[in-house]
């Protein structure tokens, strides 16, 4: 297989080329077959590589192939080349696997759209760029994929470009991401030149990894912080998360594939890929973990007071990405990638489920106008339910294993901290609450839609429900690749990833039991490691159940309660509902600020100072020229100016010359 790894990104590229060149002369069926088949073939190739990896000893699981020399200038030489190892093969499987299901789903979802062909062209292009991002064997190629997925995100968010809100959202996504990319780019320069100063000129991941020890701790900190800025943009963390909720303007399969399952996790992947640099920079790791946990908490709190089904899911995605950053921030890279994978299953499913709901509800997005869909859309209901249980972290579902792994590592890792764990655990409870608020509001109770909409409610066609069921299955069992030792498993995914992530970050020498015992250890379980881990696990499950129970009380038992609650603390509610006014603040600071500055510069600098000087000189010359004309008529004024200027300079020059 090693010689064929380039096929993984190649197939989607081929699909893109076929559909964009001859697609307009063919049928919709042809277009969708090409698009889906391209992703499927790519998936099969990834499976083949994965299979071969399993036969090989852990250390031999790296396939690397260079295709051609792309850019070379002086010491810089960058190849187009691909690298598959344990990490990238998992990413490939997730991207092509989930990607394929979402492609199939889109065949049904986008059926009546006039931009059908364009949609699949963009979608194939996206998968190509995403695969380039994860399989590129050097930083610059990763950056190509990085900006490439950003482009596709821009194109797909603004897919319905006639809507101003859609094209605004696309533009916002691109520009906010560029702020992050700016950091990424400078990070590349810094890394390249720092290693270069040690005599190693390379951007190849393998070579960087082998020579990372040459870097000073300070350089590693600066480099990793710059890269993290890129991750903040792409993975929508504080303060650059603002584009992701707006990105929901795109078609729902796009939200599912790009803005939940794959692209937005690129930042997590990048940190995992560069784990050897991050492990050298504990300060950066702390920043990553803190930003992660703050984002997780902050976004979850906004999720409390939203009514748009996709917006709630968007804030939930931001929050879950925060969890992944906690993981990589405390050195638990494998746990981060594990959660990335399970999240791709259940969040991809949630978005597709939301799409199915919109399909049933004639495009309705507001959960206040939903309710009671359980009977009419049973498949959507049950699959959505499974996804909600998974994200809430109910034992047995995929999200439980991955989230619990993160919580445990946040607590126990030498890079972790009690407070990070505490805030994350609270956030987990909040997640359970707002997800079930959404779930109950949509599927339970009375249907609050208009009669006309009600009349049309129907389950989605097979082409949409089958992907839902497959993803539900994965959300259910996806966690079993990472059953912790504590529960008798062997955490296979961590074991599989171990060759990439090197030695595990050690557990804290002395776990801080004092606070724990006060809070949780009343049962006296704070004895040895295992029992503490179990205690924390039980605690997080209890928190999740509590969240679900409150949601049940609020939205099923006693539906009047939330309204009274909101009225009681209307000030807080107002602030949260309006997303803490962060968008308004950014608008004031950056958008209007730039426009004001631009307006000032245009009027004062260009039109007044520079043009004033120029025209002033011209006027002066004109007057001088006028006098000149009296002496000798027939001069063309323009030429006169040249000659006059020349004359002045000659005289000036003759005066200056003797100085030499």
């Amino acid at each position: 297989m090693a010689d064929y790894i380039w096929l993984i990104p190649f197939f989607p590229a081929l699909g893109f080329i076929i559909n964009s060149s001859i697609g307009s002369r063919t049928s919709k069926t042809f277009v969708s077959w090409v698009a889906c088949l391209a992703i499927f073939l790519s998936f099969l190739t990834a499976v083949g590589v994965f299979w071969e990896f399993l036969q090989l000893p852990a250390t031999a699981r790296i396939f690397e192939r260079e295709i051609y020399n792309w850019i070379a200038s002086g010491e810089l030489s960058v190849n187009i080349g691909f690298r598959l190892d344990a990490l990238s093969v998992i990413m490939c499987l997730v991207v092509t696997g989930v990607g394929f299901l979402i492609h199939v789903y889109s065949v049904g979802y986008m059926h009546g759209d006039p931009g059908y062909r364009r949609f699949f062209i963009y979608l194939n292009l996206f998968v190509f760029m995403m695969l380039l991002l994860v399989t590129g064997n050097n930083l610059l190629l990763m950056f190509v994929g990085w900006e490439g997925v950003g482009l596709c995100s821009y194109l797909l968010i603004g897919f319905w470009y006639e809507k101003d809100s859609a094209s605004d959202a696309g533009k916002k996504a691109f520009i906010v991401n560029r702020v992050g990319d700016f950091g990424f780019l400078i990070g590349i320069f810094f890394l390249f030149l720092s290693l270069g100063a040690q005599g190693v000129w390379t951007l190849n991941f393998g070579e960087i990894g082998r020579n990372a020890h040459l870097l000073s701790g300070g350089a590693a900190t600066v480099i990793t912080l710059l890269f993290f800025l890129g991750a903040i943009g792409k993975s929508a963390q504080i303060p650059l998360y603002v584009w992701l909720p707006d990105a929901m303007e795109g078609p729902t399969p796009v939200s599912s594939l790009i803005h939940a399952a794959t692209m937005v996790t690129a930042g997590v992947y990048m940190i995992a890929r560069l784990n050897f640099l991050y492990s050298m920079a504990p300060d950066t790791m702390l920043v990553v973990a803190v930003i992660g946990v703050l984002t997780a908490f902050f976004a979850a709190s906004i999720g409390f007071a939203q009514y748009d089904i996709k917006k709630i899911l968007a804030y939930s995605t931001i929050s879950q990405l925060g969890f992944m950053f906690i993981a990589v921030g405390v050195g638990a890279y494998a746990a981060g990638i594990f959660h990335l994978m399970t999240h791709a299953f259940f969040k991809g499913l949630l978005f597709l489920g939301a799409g199915s709901v919109m399909h049933a509800m004639s495009g309705e997005l507001d959960i206040r106008n939903m309710g009671g869909l359980r009977k009419k859309t049973p498949i959507t209901y049950w699959t959505f339910f499974i996804a909600c249980l998974a994200i809430a972290g109910i034992p047995g579902f995929s999200g439980f294993f991955s989230k619990d792994e993160i919580l445990w590592k946040a607590f126990s890792s030498s890079q972790g901290h009690m407070l990070i764990w505490l805030l994350a655990a609270v956030t987990a409870g909040m997640t359970a609450f707002y997800m079930f608020r959404l779930f109950f509001g949509t599927f339970h109770g009375e249907c609050r839609a208009s009669e006309e909409v009600k009349h049309h409610i129907h389950e989605s066609p097979r082409v949409m429900t089958i992907p839902l069921m497959i993803l539900a299955f994965l959300s259910l069992v996806g966690g079993y690749v990472g059953i912790p030792h504590l529960l008798g498993g062997e955490n296979s995914i961590e074991k599989f990833l171990a060759p990439v992530f090197g030695p595990e970050i050690p557990v804290k020498a002395a776990l801080n039991f004092d606070i724990v015992s006060a809070a949780w250890a009343s049962g006296g379980v704070a004895g040895h490691d295992g029992s503490l881990e179990l205690a924390l696990m039980v605690a997080s499950v209890l928190i999740a159940l509590l969240g679900i129970t409150i949601a049940y009380v609020f939205y099923v038992k006693n539906p009047g309660l939330p309204g009274r609650f909101a009225a009681r603390c209307s000030g807080l509610y107002h602030v949260v509902h309006n997303k803490y006014f962060v968008d308004e603040l950014y608008d004031l600071l950056f958008v209007r600020g730039t426009l004001k500055a631009g307006d000032f510069l245009l009027r004062v600098m260009d039109d007044w100072i520079i043009e004033g000087l120029v025209n002033g000189t011209a006027d002066w010359v004109k007057r001088a020229g006028g006098r000149l004309r009296k002496v000798e008529t027939g001069y063309v004024q323009e030429y006169a100016f040249g000659i006059i200027v020349g004359a002045i300079i000659v005289v000036g020059y003759l005066i200056v010359m003797p100085m030499f």
Partner: protein, 514 residues
């Protein structure tokens, strides 16, 4: 092509011959004139291809050199030659001129014969200036170049064409006069020092000029070239010239003429006056950085498409200058590459705007909106060229911008970081422009029935887009032609500047000079 065939002369004067031929054609036969002009520029492009393919990429020095005595008593010779820098610019010129003829097909309806004659003359002057290695010969072509451009704007331009043409002429003329004086001063200095009176650049490179005098001469050359680039704050002629020029005029102005300023720095100002380069690098770098950011902010404010693209040129050329003055391999190669990219992508943008203008006779952004709906093919091309302009990886713009920023960052971290903010601003103004023109609902009745691209227009934009991707995906094909020249060039410059830089205290040399 063997050594004896004077290929550079042929490439320079073939368009002139074409111009003479066109003059003899009857003016009523418009189509015949157009087709002849097209065939002639295609021939010219074909003739220039051997320059690319037979170019020896291992040689740092001049190739295809031709030398004839011209006025031996004054040391003026007809000396031609190209290296990796000028060869690619010559190729860009012959390539863009073909597209310019094609894109004028319907836009130019008056004085057709004169128009194409002017264009061919312009081509001769541009290529001549790029190949000339004798200062007088260079200056001759450099000045000749002004006249056809002045006419293109002044005769075939928009409503304020006279104002724009005069402004263009005066700005560049002011610089040229200074340069002429500096050339004379250099000539007399070298002659007085060595007894050899010559305008041969390679001879003059050897001159040992006192530091203070270098400053003055460099200032004169630099001012002339900086106006042409144009660098902030000498840029205000450019938006007017671009807006009023016909489409092809804008394409060639942005694509080639602006590069003449950068080329002038590369060929003359930098190697001739190394001490001044050392001293002036911070000033020029700061002006370039201001140009990058200022140009981008100006773009955000523009309401006229062509003015917007004009200001984007100020920003892009800021990158080019900054890269070159980083004086390292990545910066220099990136700068040269970015000149080519800018010719392709900004040329492409002007072509697209021209196509829209021919349909709507307006360039105001507010008059558009929702054009994607009626012109999907134009929208696709426009999008690709826009992305190339904002340096999306995979397109040509990325390669140049990446190399420049890497080089700049390497020579001065602060410059690198400041310049990189242009990456963000570039996306802001281009995407906003694109959104306002192409996205949203069609609000104006006139826009509802616009025709999509014709075959001719699609062919033009295809040619641009092919290069966008070719240069983005396989830049080695072009960069390797620059490698040897750039390495040799930097070596020379570093040896020369080291004398002044390592001394640390330039004033010492200066006092010696007195």
């Amino acid at each position: 092509m063997n050594q004896t065939f004077p290929i550079l002369s042929a490439v320079i004067f073939l368009p002139l011959a074409g111009a003479l031929l066109l003059m003899m054609l009857p003016r009523q036969k418009a189509l015949f004139i157009k087709v002849s002009a097209l065939i002639w520029t295609l021939l010219e492009f074909a003739l220039s291809l051997p320059l690319f393919f037979n170019f020896d990429e291992k040689t740092p020095g001049m190739q295809f050199v031709e030398r004839r005595e011209w006025f031996p008593e004054w040391g003026i010779s007809y000396l031609l030659g190209i290296d990796g820098i000028s060869m690619l610019l010559v190729m860009l010129t012959t390539f863009l001129t073909v597209l310019c003829v094609l894109c004028s097909w319907r836009g130019i309806e008056e004085k057709i014969k004169e128009y194409y004659v002017t264009f061919l003359l312009l081509e001769t002057a541009m290529i001549g200036a790029l190949c000339a290695l004798d200062l007088v010969l260079f200056y001759f072509f450099w000045e000749i170049m002004l006249v056809p451009m002045y006419l293109l704007i002044g005769v075939w331009g928009g409503p304020r064409r006279i104002y724009a043409a005069v402004k263009f002429f005066l700005f560049t003329m002011a610089g040229s006069v200074l340069m002429l004086l500096a050339i004379m001063a250099l000539y007399f200095h070298y002659g007085g020092e060595t007894g050899i009176y010559t305008f041969n650049v390679f001879e003059l490179y050897k001159a040992d000029i006192p530091v203070l005098k270098q400053y003055w001469l460099f200032a004169a050359f630099a001012l002339s070239f900086a106006i042409k680039v144009p660098m902030f704050p000498f840029h205000t002629w450019l938006p007017d010239a671009h807006t009023e020029a016909p489409t092809a005029g804008s394409v060639i102005l942005a694509g080639v003429l602006l590069k003449m300023g950068v080329y002038g720095f590369l060929r003359f100002a930098i190697p001739l006056f190394p001490a001044a380069v050392v001293a002036a690098t911070p000033l020029i770098s700061w002006l370039a950085i201001i140009g990058i950011i200022y140009g981008a902010v100006m773009c955000i404010m523009q309401t006229d498409l062509k003015r917007l693209i004009a200001y984007s040129s100020v920003s892009h050329l800021g990158y080019v200058m900054l890269g070159i003055f980083a004086l390292n391999m990545q910066g220099l190669e990136g700068g040269i590459y970015q000149m080519l990219n800018h010719g392709i992508s900004t040329g492409g943008l002007f072509l697209v705007v021209g196509m829209i203008y021919e349909r709507r006779h307006t360039r105001m952004i507010a008059d558009f909106g929702g054009l994607s709906k009626v012109m999907p093919r134009l929208a696709a091309f426009f999008m690709i060229i826009t992305l190339s302009s904002i340096a999306l990886p995979g397109t040509n713009g990325f390669v140049g911008e990446f190399l420049i920023l890497l080089g700049v960052f390497r020579s001065n971290m602060l410059y690198g970081v400041l310049a990189a903010t242009g990456v963000i601003l570039g996306a802001v103004y281009m995407l906003w422009m694109f959104q306002r023109v192409m996205f949203g609902q069609i609000k104006k009745e006139e826009n509802k029935r616009l025709l999509d691209l014709t075959k001719r227009e699609a062919a033009i934009l295809c040619a641009i887009v092919v290069f966008v991707f070719l240069m983005g995906l396989y830049p080695r094909a072009f960069l390797k032609k620059i490698d040897a020249t750039a390495a040799g060039y930097l070596n020379d410059v570093q040896v020369k500047t080291a004398v002044y830089a390592s001394a640390g205290n330039v004033p010492v040399k200066q006092s010696e000079a007195k």
